[in-house]
């Protein structure tokens, strides 16, 4: 008699152990790599985690027997170490399942065979129908789609309203400035004159008339374009370099340095030396990105009242052009999620990305980091004043061309800019240097005109 209930207990115990096993889920680890490098962009990673939770709930409902666990990192160090890590990871087969990078990487990595084309997978998920149509152009290369747009932005020229007032501008003139830039009424020459004026009248210190980024980046393409330069010929699919435009651009830079408007060592790799004077209200004009607004607000202007100070003191507009009547310009560099060839969970990966590409997560990232949303329906959710005010810049925006050798093009142009600003070469010499460098590294894929 006694033994019977012992047996019963044992059977129950065995059942208790076995039954949960029967309904146990297979856990798939999804490796996700994301990068800012600006801190506020952390949602590029966190949104995927949130999406995974939602997807897991859905998977449970479907009884799929699979659960996703997201692992990975959000990189705040810099693009060059991130890209190096990615390159090495692709090689070693230890690649992530989802990797986020700027859209030009789709061209390079697609050409190198590191990522997969997504055309066949996209129609399966209705979330992707909501993506702003023009953004797909940024991730297309050789006719196929290689990434899912994650966010976009714009790169304005910012100006300090308080300093303009000290220079003698009226509030009306200040309010009209963005309009004048957009119409082509306030050109780069006018920027130069105003900044020089400010330096001479001691409204700003020498070198603080105009600031731009201290590190390499795609922005230089935008400024070269604003001086009339071409960079891509769609018909032949080749890159282009317009010497005349580059000369204009380099001459502007040279003059700016000579007249004390621009620092000789502006390209000093030190972000604090960009942000600190800006947040101290000491810089008249500075080129940047919409996300700088969030960085400034959150990290540098905490003590001064965050975005109240910004709205009171800083204005923004698309970049001016070089000739009167020309069209203002800005650039957007959408970020994209891509799927490496080496990933073993491609179907789950695209599904996870679909769950990340939803309006509320889109809005969360946009508002959190002052990037711009990628989905048409997100606009309803975004109440952020800055994003609302800055979104008109998208009407003037351009993308970088889809070419596998774009990196060499950027590298050569950057060398020219560094040489001119630091005084190592005259503008004419720098143009020749850039052309020679492009010829050497891109060979027949570039047209020098």
């Amino acid at each position: 008699m006694r033994h019977k209930w012992l047996v019963a207990v044992m059977v129950l115990a065995v059942l208790a152990l076995v039954l949960p096993q029967a309904s146990a889920q297979r856990v798939v680890v999804m490796k996700v790599w994301a990068i800012g490098p600006d801190n506020p962009s952390v949602n590029r990673f966190n949104n995927v985690v949130t999406a995974a939770d939602r997807l897991n709930a859905e998977l449970r409902r479907e009884g799929a027997g699979v659960q996703i666990k997201v692992e990975g990192s959000f990189d705040t160090t810099g693009w060059d170490s991130y890209l190096r890590r990615a390159l090495l990871a692709f090689q070693s087969g230890d690649a992530p399942d989802i990797i986020q990078a700027a859209h030009p990487q789709t061209a390079t990595w697609a050409a190198a065979g590191f990522i997969i084309a997504l055309d066949e997978m996209i129609p399966k998920y209705r979330q992707f129908n909501d993506v702003v149509p023009s953004l797909w152009d940024a991730v297309k290369f050789k006719g196929k789609i290689w990434g899912i747009p994650q966010d976009t932005e714009a790169r304005p020229i910012y100006f300090n309203k308080a300093l303009l007032r000290r220079l003698g501008w009226t509030d009306q003139q200040i309010a009209e400035l963005p309009g004048r830039i957009t119409r082509g009424d306030f050109t780069w020459d006018d920027v130069m004159v105003t900044a020089r004026d400010a330096v001479q009248k001691n409204v700003v210190e020498r070198g603080k008339g105009y600031y731009h980024r201290p590190t390499p980046g795609p922005d230089f393409l935008q400024w070269y374009r604003s001086h009339g330069g071409r960079d891509f010929e769609a018909a032949s699919g080749k890159l282009v370099f317009t010497k005349e435009a580059a000369l204009r651009y380099f001459r502007w830079l040279r003059t700016a340095v000579d007249q004390g408007v621009l620092e000789r060592d502006r390209l000093n790799n030190e972000w604090p030396r960009f942000f600190q004077p800006v947040s101290d209200g000491k810089v008249l004009f500075f080129s940047g990105g919409t996300w700088n607004w969030a960085e400034l607000e959150r990290e540098w202007l905490n003590a001064k009242g965050g975005d109240e100070w910004l709205f009171a003191n800083i204005g923004f507009a698309p970049h001016p052009t070089w000739r009167k009547g020309g069209r203002a310009i800005t650039m957007s560099q959408p970020q994209a999620y891509m799927i490496p060839v080496a990933s073993k969970n491609k179907d789950l990966a695209i599904r996870l990305i679909a769950y990340t590409t939803v309006p509320d997560l889109d809005a969360k990232h946009a508002v959190g980091s002052a990037h711009l949303p990628v989905l048409s329906s997100t606009a309803r959710l975004v109440k952020d004043r800055f994003l609302k005010e800055v979104s008109y810049l998208l009407n003037f925006t351009t993308f970088q061309p889809p070419h596998a050798n774009l990196a060499e093009w950027h590298g050569a142009l950057f060398r020219g800019v560094s040489a001119v600003e630091s005084g190592q070469a005259t503008p004419e010499q720098a143009v020749d240097l850039v052309a020679a460098e492009m010829q050497r590294t891109i060979r027949d894929q570039v047209i020098i005109e």
Binding site: W79, D80, R84, N405
Partner: protein, 317 residues
């Protein structure tokens, strides 16, 4: 009768084979791990560097590098900025060497001219930059060099700007120099200590001043050590870039402090836009490798290889 010498030659029987095995087994076992590692991480890389330098390997061609012959070297020679990089390298090596040897000498002379316990203490202090992790050392440099009011150097010199971006060369030479000086310091101190005491007493009896003693007795004895330190550190400076990478990344601005080895590293392994040019970087590294081999062999010739290779005391195997 046939002498044994004319008998048929003895074939290597099992006994002889065992003896041979015994003769070579011991060295083989002892040397195996070291040999494997040295082959894998010294010898193979030397040839790999030369091989890679002759391919067009880059991000795009990583999977299928093509043979490019001497193309990379030709590209290097045509690079307009190569001259600047070579100049930077010469500057870096020259000035740092001057500091290393000069300061090492001065410190050695000073620290042997004071009571031993003080001398030891000061020498120990100069050992610190060498044993401290490079990243911490650079952190200290960056901290001292900050813009006013935070940086000590700015407060002392009255300048507003960061010492490192204002005077990158001074920063690099000093930072590397303070690490390198300890090398010379210790060698020279050893050499000074090994000078026979009689010479000093004799000089004192003759009424020589300290300066004269140094000039007539100490310095001549330091000729070889100075030559050795100079030669050794020239090679090591030619190829070192770690501190430069950490301090200035080769900037600020346009290749300001980029030296040959750093440029090679950047070309091959790190680039903002993602266009790593592996083959080109390997070509630059190959130049260093070849120089390194030639110079290292030269050192051996000059600095007494023979004495070090004396046959072992125990011959029995």
């Amino acid at each position: 009768m046939q002498s044994q010498a004319e008998a048929t030659p003895v074939r290597a029987g099992p006994v002889v084979r065992a003896a041979l095995l015994q003769r070579y087994a011991a060295p083989a076992i002892f040397l195996l791990p070291a040999t494997v590692l040295i082959v894998l991480f010294f010898l193979v890389p030397v040839f790999t560097t030369l091989y890679l330098s002759m391919t067009d390997i880059s991000v795009l061609t990583f999977r299928n590098p093509q043979w490019a012959g001497l193309e990379n070297y030709r590209t290097l020679l045509q690079d307009p900025f190569l001259g600047k990089i070579m100049l930077n390298t010469a500057r870096y090596v020259g000035f740092t060497l001057l500091f290393n040897v000069g300061m090492g000498l001065v410190l050695a002379l000073l620290s042997t001219s004071v009571p031993e316990r003080y001398g030891n203490q000061m020498r120990a202090v100069w050992l610190l930059p060498r044993i401290l992790p490079p990243v911490v050392y650079v952190l200290i440099w960056q901290g001292l060099s900050r813009d006013a009011p935070f940086g000590l150097i700015s407060s002392l010199t009255g300048s507003e700007r960061s010492f490192i971006s204002g005077h990158p060369w001074a920063a690099i030479v000093l930072a590397n120099g303070m690490v390198g000086a300890s090398f010379g310091l210790l060698i020279f101190t050893s050499a000074i200590r090994s000078i026979s005491q009689d010479l000093f007493y004799a000089a004192a009896v003759d009424g020589a001043t300290t300066l004269q003693t140094i000039r007539r007795i100490v310095l001549p004895m330091l000729k070889w050590p100075i030559l050795f330190v100079t030669a050794y550190q020239t090679l090591s400076l030619l190829t070192s870039f770690e501190y430069i990478l950490l301090l200035t990344q080769g900037g600020p601005g346009f290749f300001t402090t980029t030296v040959w080895s750093l440029h090679a590293y950047n070309l091959a392994l790190s680039n903002y836009f993602g266009n790593v040019q592996f083959g080109l970087g390997a070509a630059m590294a190959a130049v260093l490798v070849v120089i390194g081999i030639i110079v290292s062999v030269l050192y051996l010739r000059i600095f007494n290889f023979r004495a070090l290779v004396a046959e072992p005391k125990i011959e029995v195997n």
